[in-house]
């Protein structure tokens, strides 16, 4: 079971600011271990963010996104108390969904 994300969602005027820290190795597939074997690529490929059921951001990522990814963006139409749901899916098919309430 992948580690939980840390999500902060704050209402600033008419915009909701979302900041999320995800726990993921984001292995490029180019590193070698101490035995010289290639460490296989392992990275988040899809990210989806919804607010009150509506998609507010979706993304496709490659291996160049940093380990323990950080993402920040803003959207309009949300309000305090609404639920933000973030889901990531990686190339192994592993998934993690976390939610936060807009403060």
């Amino acid at each position: 079971m992948p580690d939980p994300m840390k999500i902060r969602a704050n209402q600033l005027g008419d915009a909701t600011e979302v900041k999320v820290l995800m726990s993921h190795e984001m292995e490029t597939g180019q590193r070698k271990d101490s035995q010289g074997k290639v460490i296989p690529a392992w990275f988040i490929q899809h990210v989806d963010v919804t607010c009150a059921g509506k998609t507010v951001l979706s993304a496709q990522w490659g291996t160049a996104v940093s380990k323990n990814p950080f993402l920040s963006f803003k959207f309009k139409g949300g309000q305090k108390g609404d639920k933000i749901v973030i889901t990531w899916t990686d190339n192994r098919g592993e998934k993690r969904t976390d939610e936060a309430t807009i403060a």
């Binding site: 496709q60 291996t63 959207f75 139409g77």
Partner: protein, 160 residues
């Protein structure tokens, strides 16, 4: 129905096993926004040049635009593993923002789809193999635009 039959037939003939998701996606049956609904754009992420990437994104050469800017993005990164990038697009009808790193093994780092109501601005962190131009590629109103910035990557301390 015919489309999905053709796809399935082709898959069976080729001996490939298409996931249900891919089949459904091809038939347009999955609403966008569901995680994994769109197939991960492998050819775009495998591309080594701007031209190759644009081809995989179904776009032509992007036009340079002053309306695409890097905000609060430092010129120097102390370590290439984590380089903060913030892109803002002032272009109306911005649909997506992508980040490309010229000297990385594969140029495309990330693509963000911006639905209506979401600010066309993204902050994230990327890996840079070495000092390089970083491109912010924006799709607005069906057309592609680009801005670039050189970010220097340094080696710190005792080499690590």
């Amino acid at each position: 129905m015919a489309d999905i039959d053709q796809t399935r037939r082709k898959a069976l003939q080729q001996g490939a096993s298409l996931s249900l998701l891919t089949l459904l996606s091809a038939a347009g049956w999955l609403a966008p926004g569901i995680a994994g609904a769109e197939t991960w754009n492998k050819s775009a992420f495998d591309a080594h040049s701007m031209d190759e990437t644009m081809k995989a994104l179904n776009g032509s050469s992007p036009a340079p635009s002053k309306d695409v800017t890097f905000v609060a993005t430092p010129d120097i990164a102390e370590n290439g593993a984590v380089v903060p990038i913030s892109v803002v697009s002032a272009l109306p009808k911005t649909e997506s923002i992508a980040i490309l790193i010229e000297k990385n093994p594969n140029m495309l780092a990330a693509v963000f789809d911006i639905p209506q109501g979401t600010d066309p601005s993204i902050t994230t962190r990327v890996k840079m193999a070495q000092t390089s131009n970083v491109y912010a590629l924006v799709k607005a109103d069906g057309k592609f635009y680009v801005a670039s910035k050189e970010i220097k990557v340094t080696l710190g301390g005792c080499g690590g």
